[in-house]
Symmetry: C2
Subunit: 211 residues, 2 copies
Amino acid sequence: MATVPNRRRTQVDRSAETRAILIRAAIELLQTLGFAGTSTALIAKRAGVTTGALHHHFATKDELLFGVLDHASERMRARLEQEKPVSPAGTLNISDTVRHLWEVYGNPEYWATWEIIIGTRSDPALHPRVVAHRLETMRMVLHPWLEHHTSEEGTRPEVIALFEFMLIAIRGLSLERFLDKDEAYFDRNLKILADLVGQRLEALAQHNFVR
Amino acid sequence: MATVPNRRRTQVDRSAETRAILIRAAIELLQTLGFAGTSTALIAKRAGVTTGALHHHFATKDELLFGVLDHASERMRARLEQEKPVSPAGTLNISDTVRHLWEVYGNPEYWATWEIIIGTRSDPALHPRVVAHRLETMRMVLHPWLEHHTSEEGTRPEVIALFEFMLIAIRGLSLERFLDKDEAYFDRNLKILADLVGQRLEALAQHNFVR
DNA sequence: ATTTACATACTGATCGATATGTATGTAAGT
DNA sequence: ACTTACATACATATCGATCAGTATGTAAAT
């Protein structure tokens, strides 16, 4: 019989694994049950540990929520970064970009973040910290990506604004998930978004050329 | 001293008033504290009655929530309807339309509806009923308005789709309220939306004319 | 190489607070 | 008189969190 590898885990490994399992369980519950339905008891149960273990790693539920925010932030960064600029230099394929942003920000997993933002807004102590975390993530993750992907166009502020608008629209679209819309509905509206922005980018480029 | 008018209210009046007060209190709490923070005790306290009175008018909390949905639906209908088509016949002022839709759907009061949609999604019995209520409202309130306001353009399905997209974008924008954005931020993105849609409508009209 | 001493990981019971909902009594209207 | 509208008091469940105790890993002492 083969010896079981790593039968004896180090303490840091045990900690890291359990924390990761708890965070994953919290994200899944936030995604499926929402903020109100995500109790510490359910999180612990889904993670396969007890509430005692949960509170050993995260003194308060709030701390666990920030663990979720950190995790989501890192995931977002990784997913955004993995996009290869497949299009020829200077030619921004807006349809692919919309699709990619939809996969990142329209993903149900990402919604856990908004569940926390919205769900904690009644907490005068917690909400400012959540908002600050959000801003920091945008500054460290999204803005660099934005600047990188609009540099070909000259980093015009209008283009940046257009990208931000795309994110807003995509987030609005993701809300429709809660109304059990089918895939065709999402495809149709993503196409509209791509068309609108594409048309606008063309106009901007033309105007820039004429000037 | 002047006699207090209506010192003796009828039963139906008492009922109607208390129900209205309770619904208004629930909407305010859903708007400020969110679904998780809106308890029956708080609703009753804010309404100035006891939980006993609340449960007399609404046997369960769910019933009260549907009362909120009904109220919001009616409010939406009234606000949409009050818009006078100020523009000359055939000329749709897209900027005003965006502004008007923002006032209706971007209104914090309206968010209470989404708070219910999102907050109850964990409830297998309640959520389908909420979704059904939503669809009914859209069918009875929004669609007639949409058809009325796009008839001048020939009720092209593409225009309808564009309007639906506008609502999606506006909803996405309303989420940013939870991140304490300033008014300029909303104005800027509403302008982008209006520009994008306006440009698209022009293109559609032109194409229609050529054809 | 064992043993000893300690740190860390985790269990399970339990706390006070708060959630929704119910039972019963009282005041107001018909 | 009877019904409806509300208040008061309470039942029951679940929330986040604490805590005493146990299991496991780690490092120093022998």
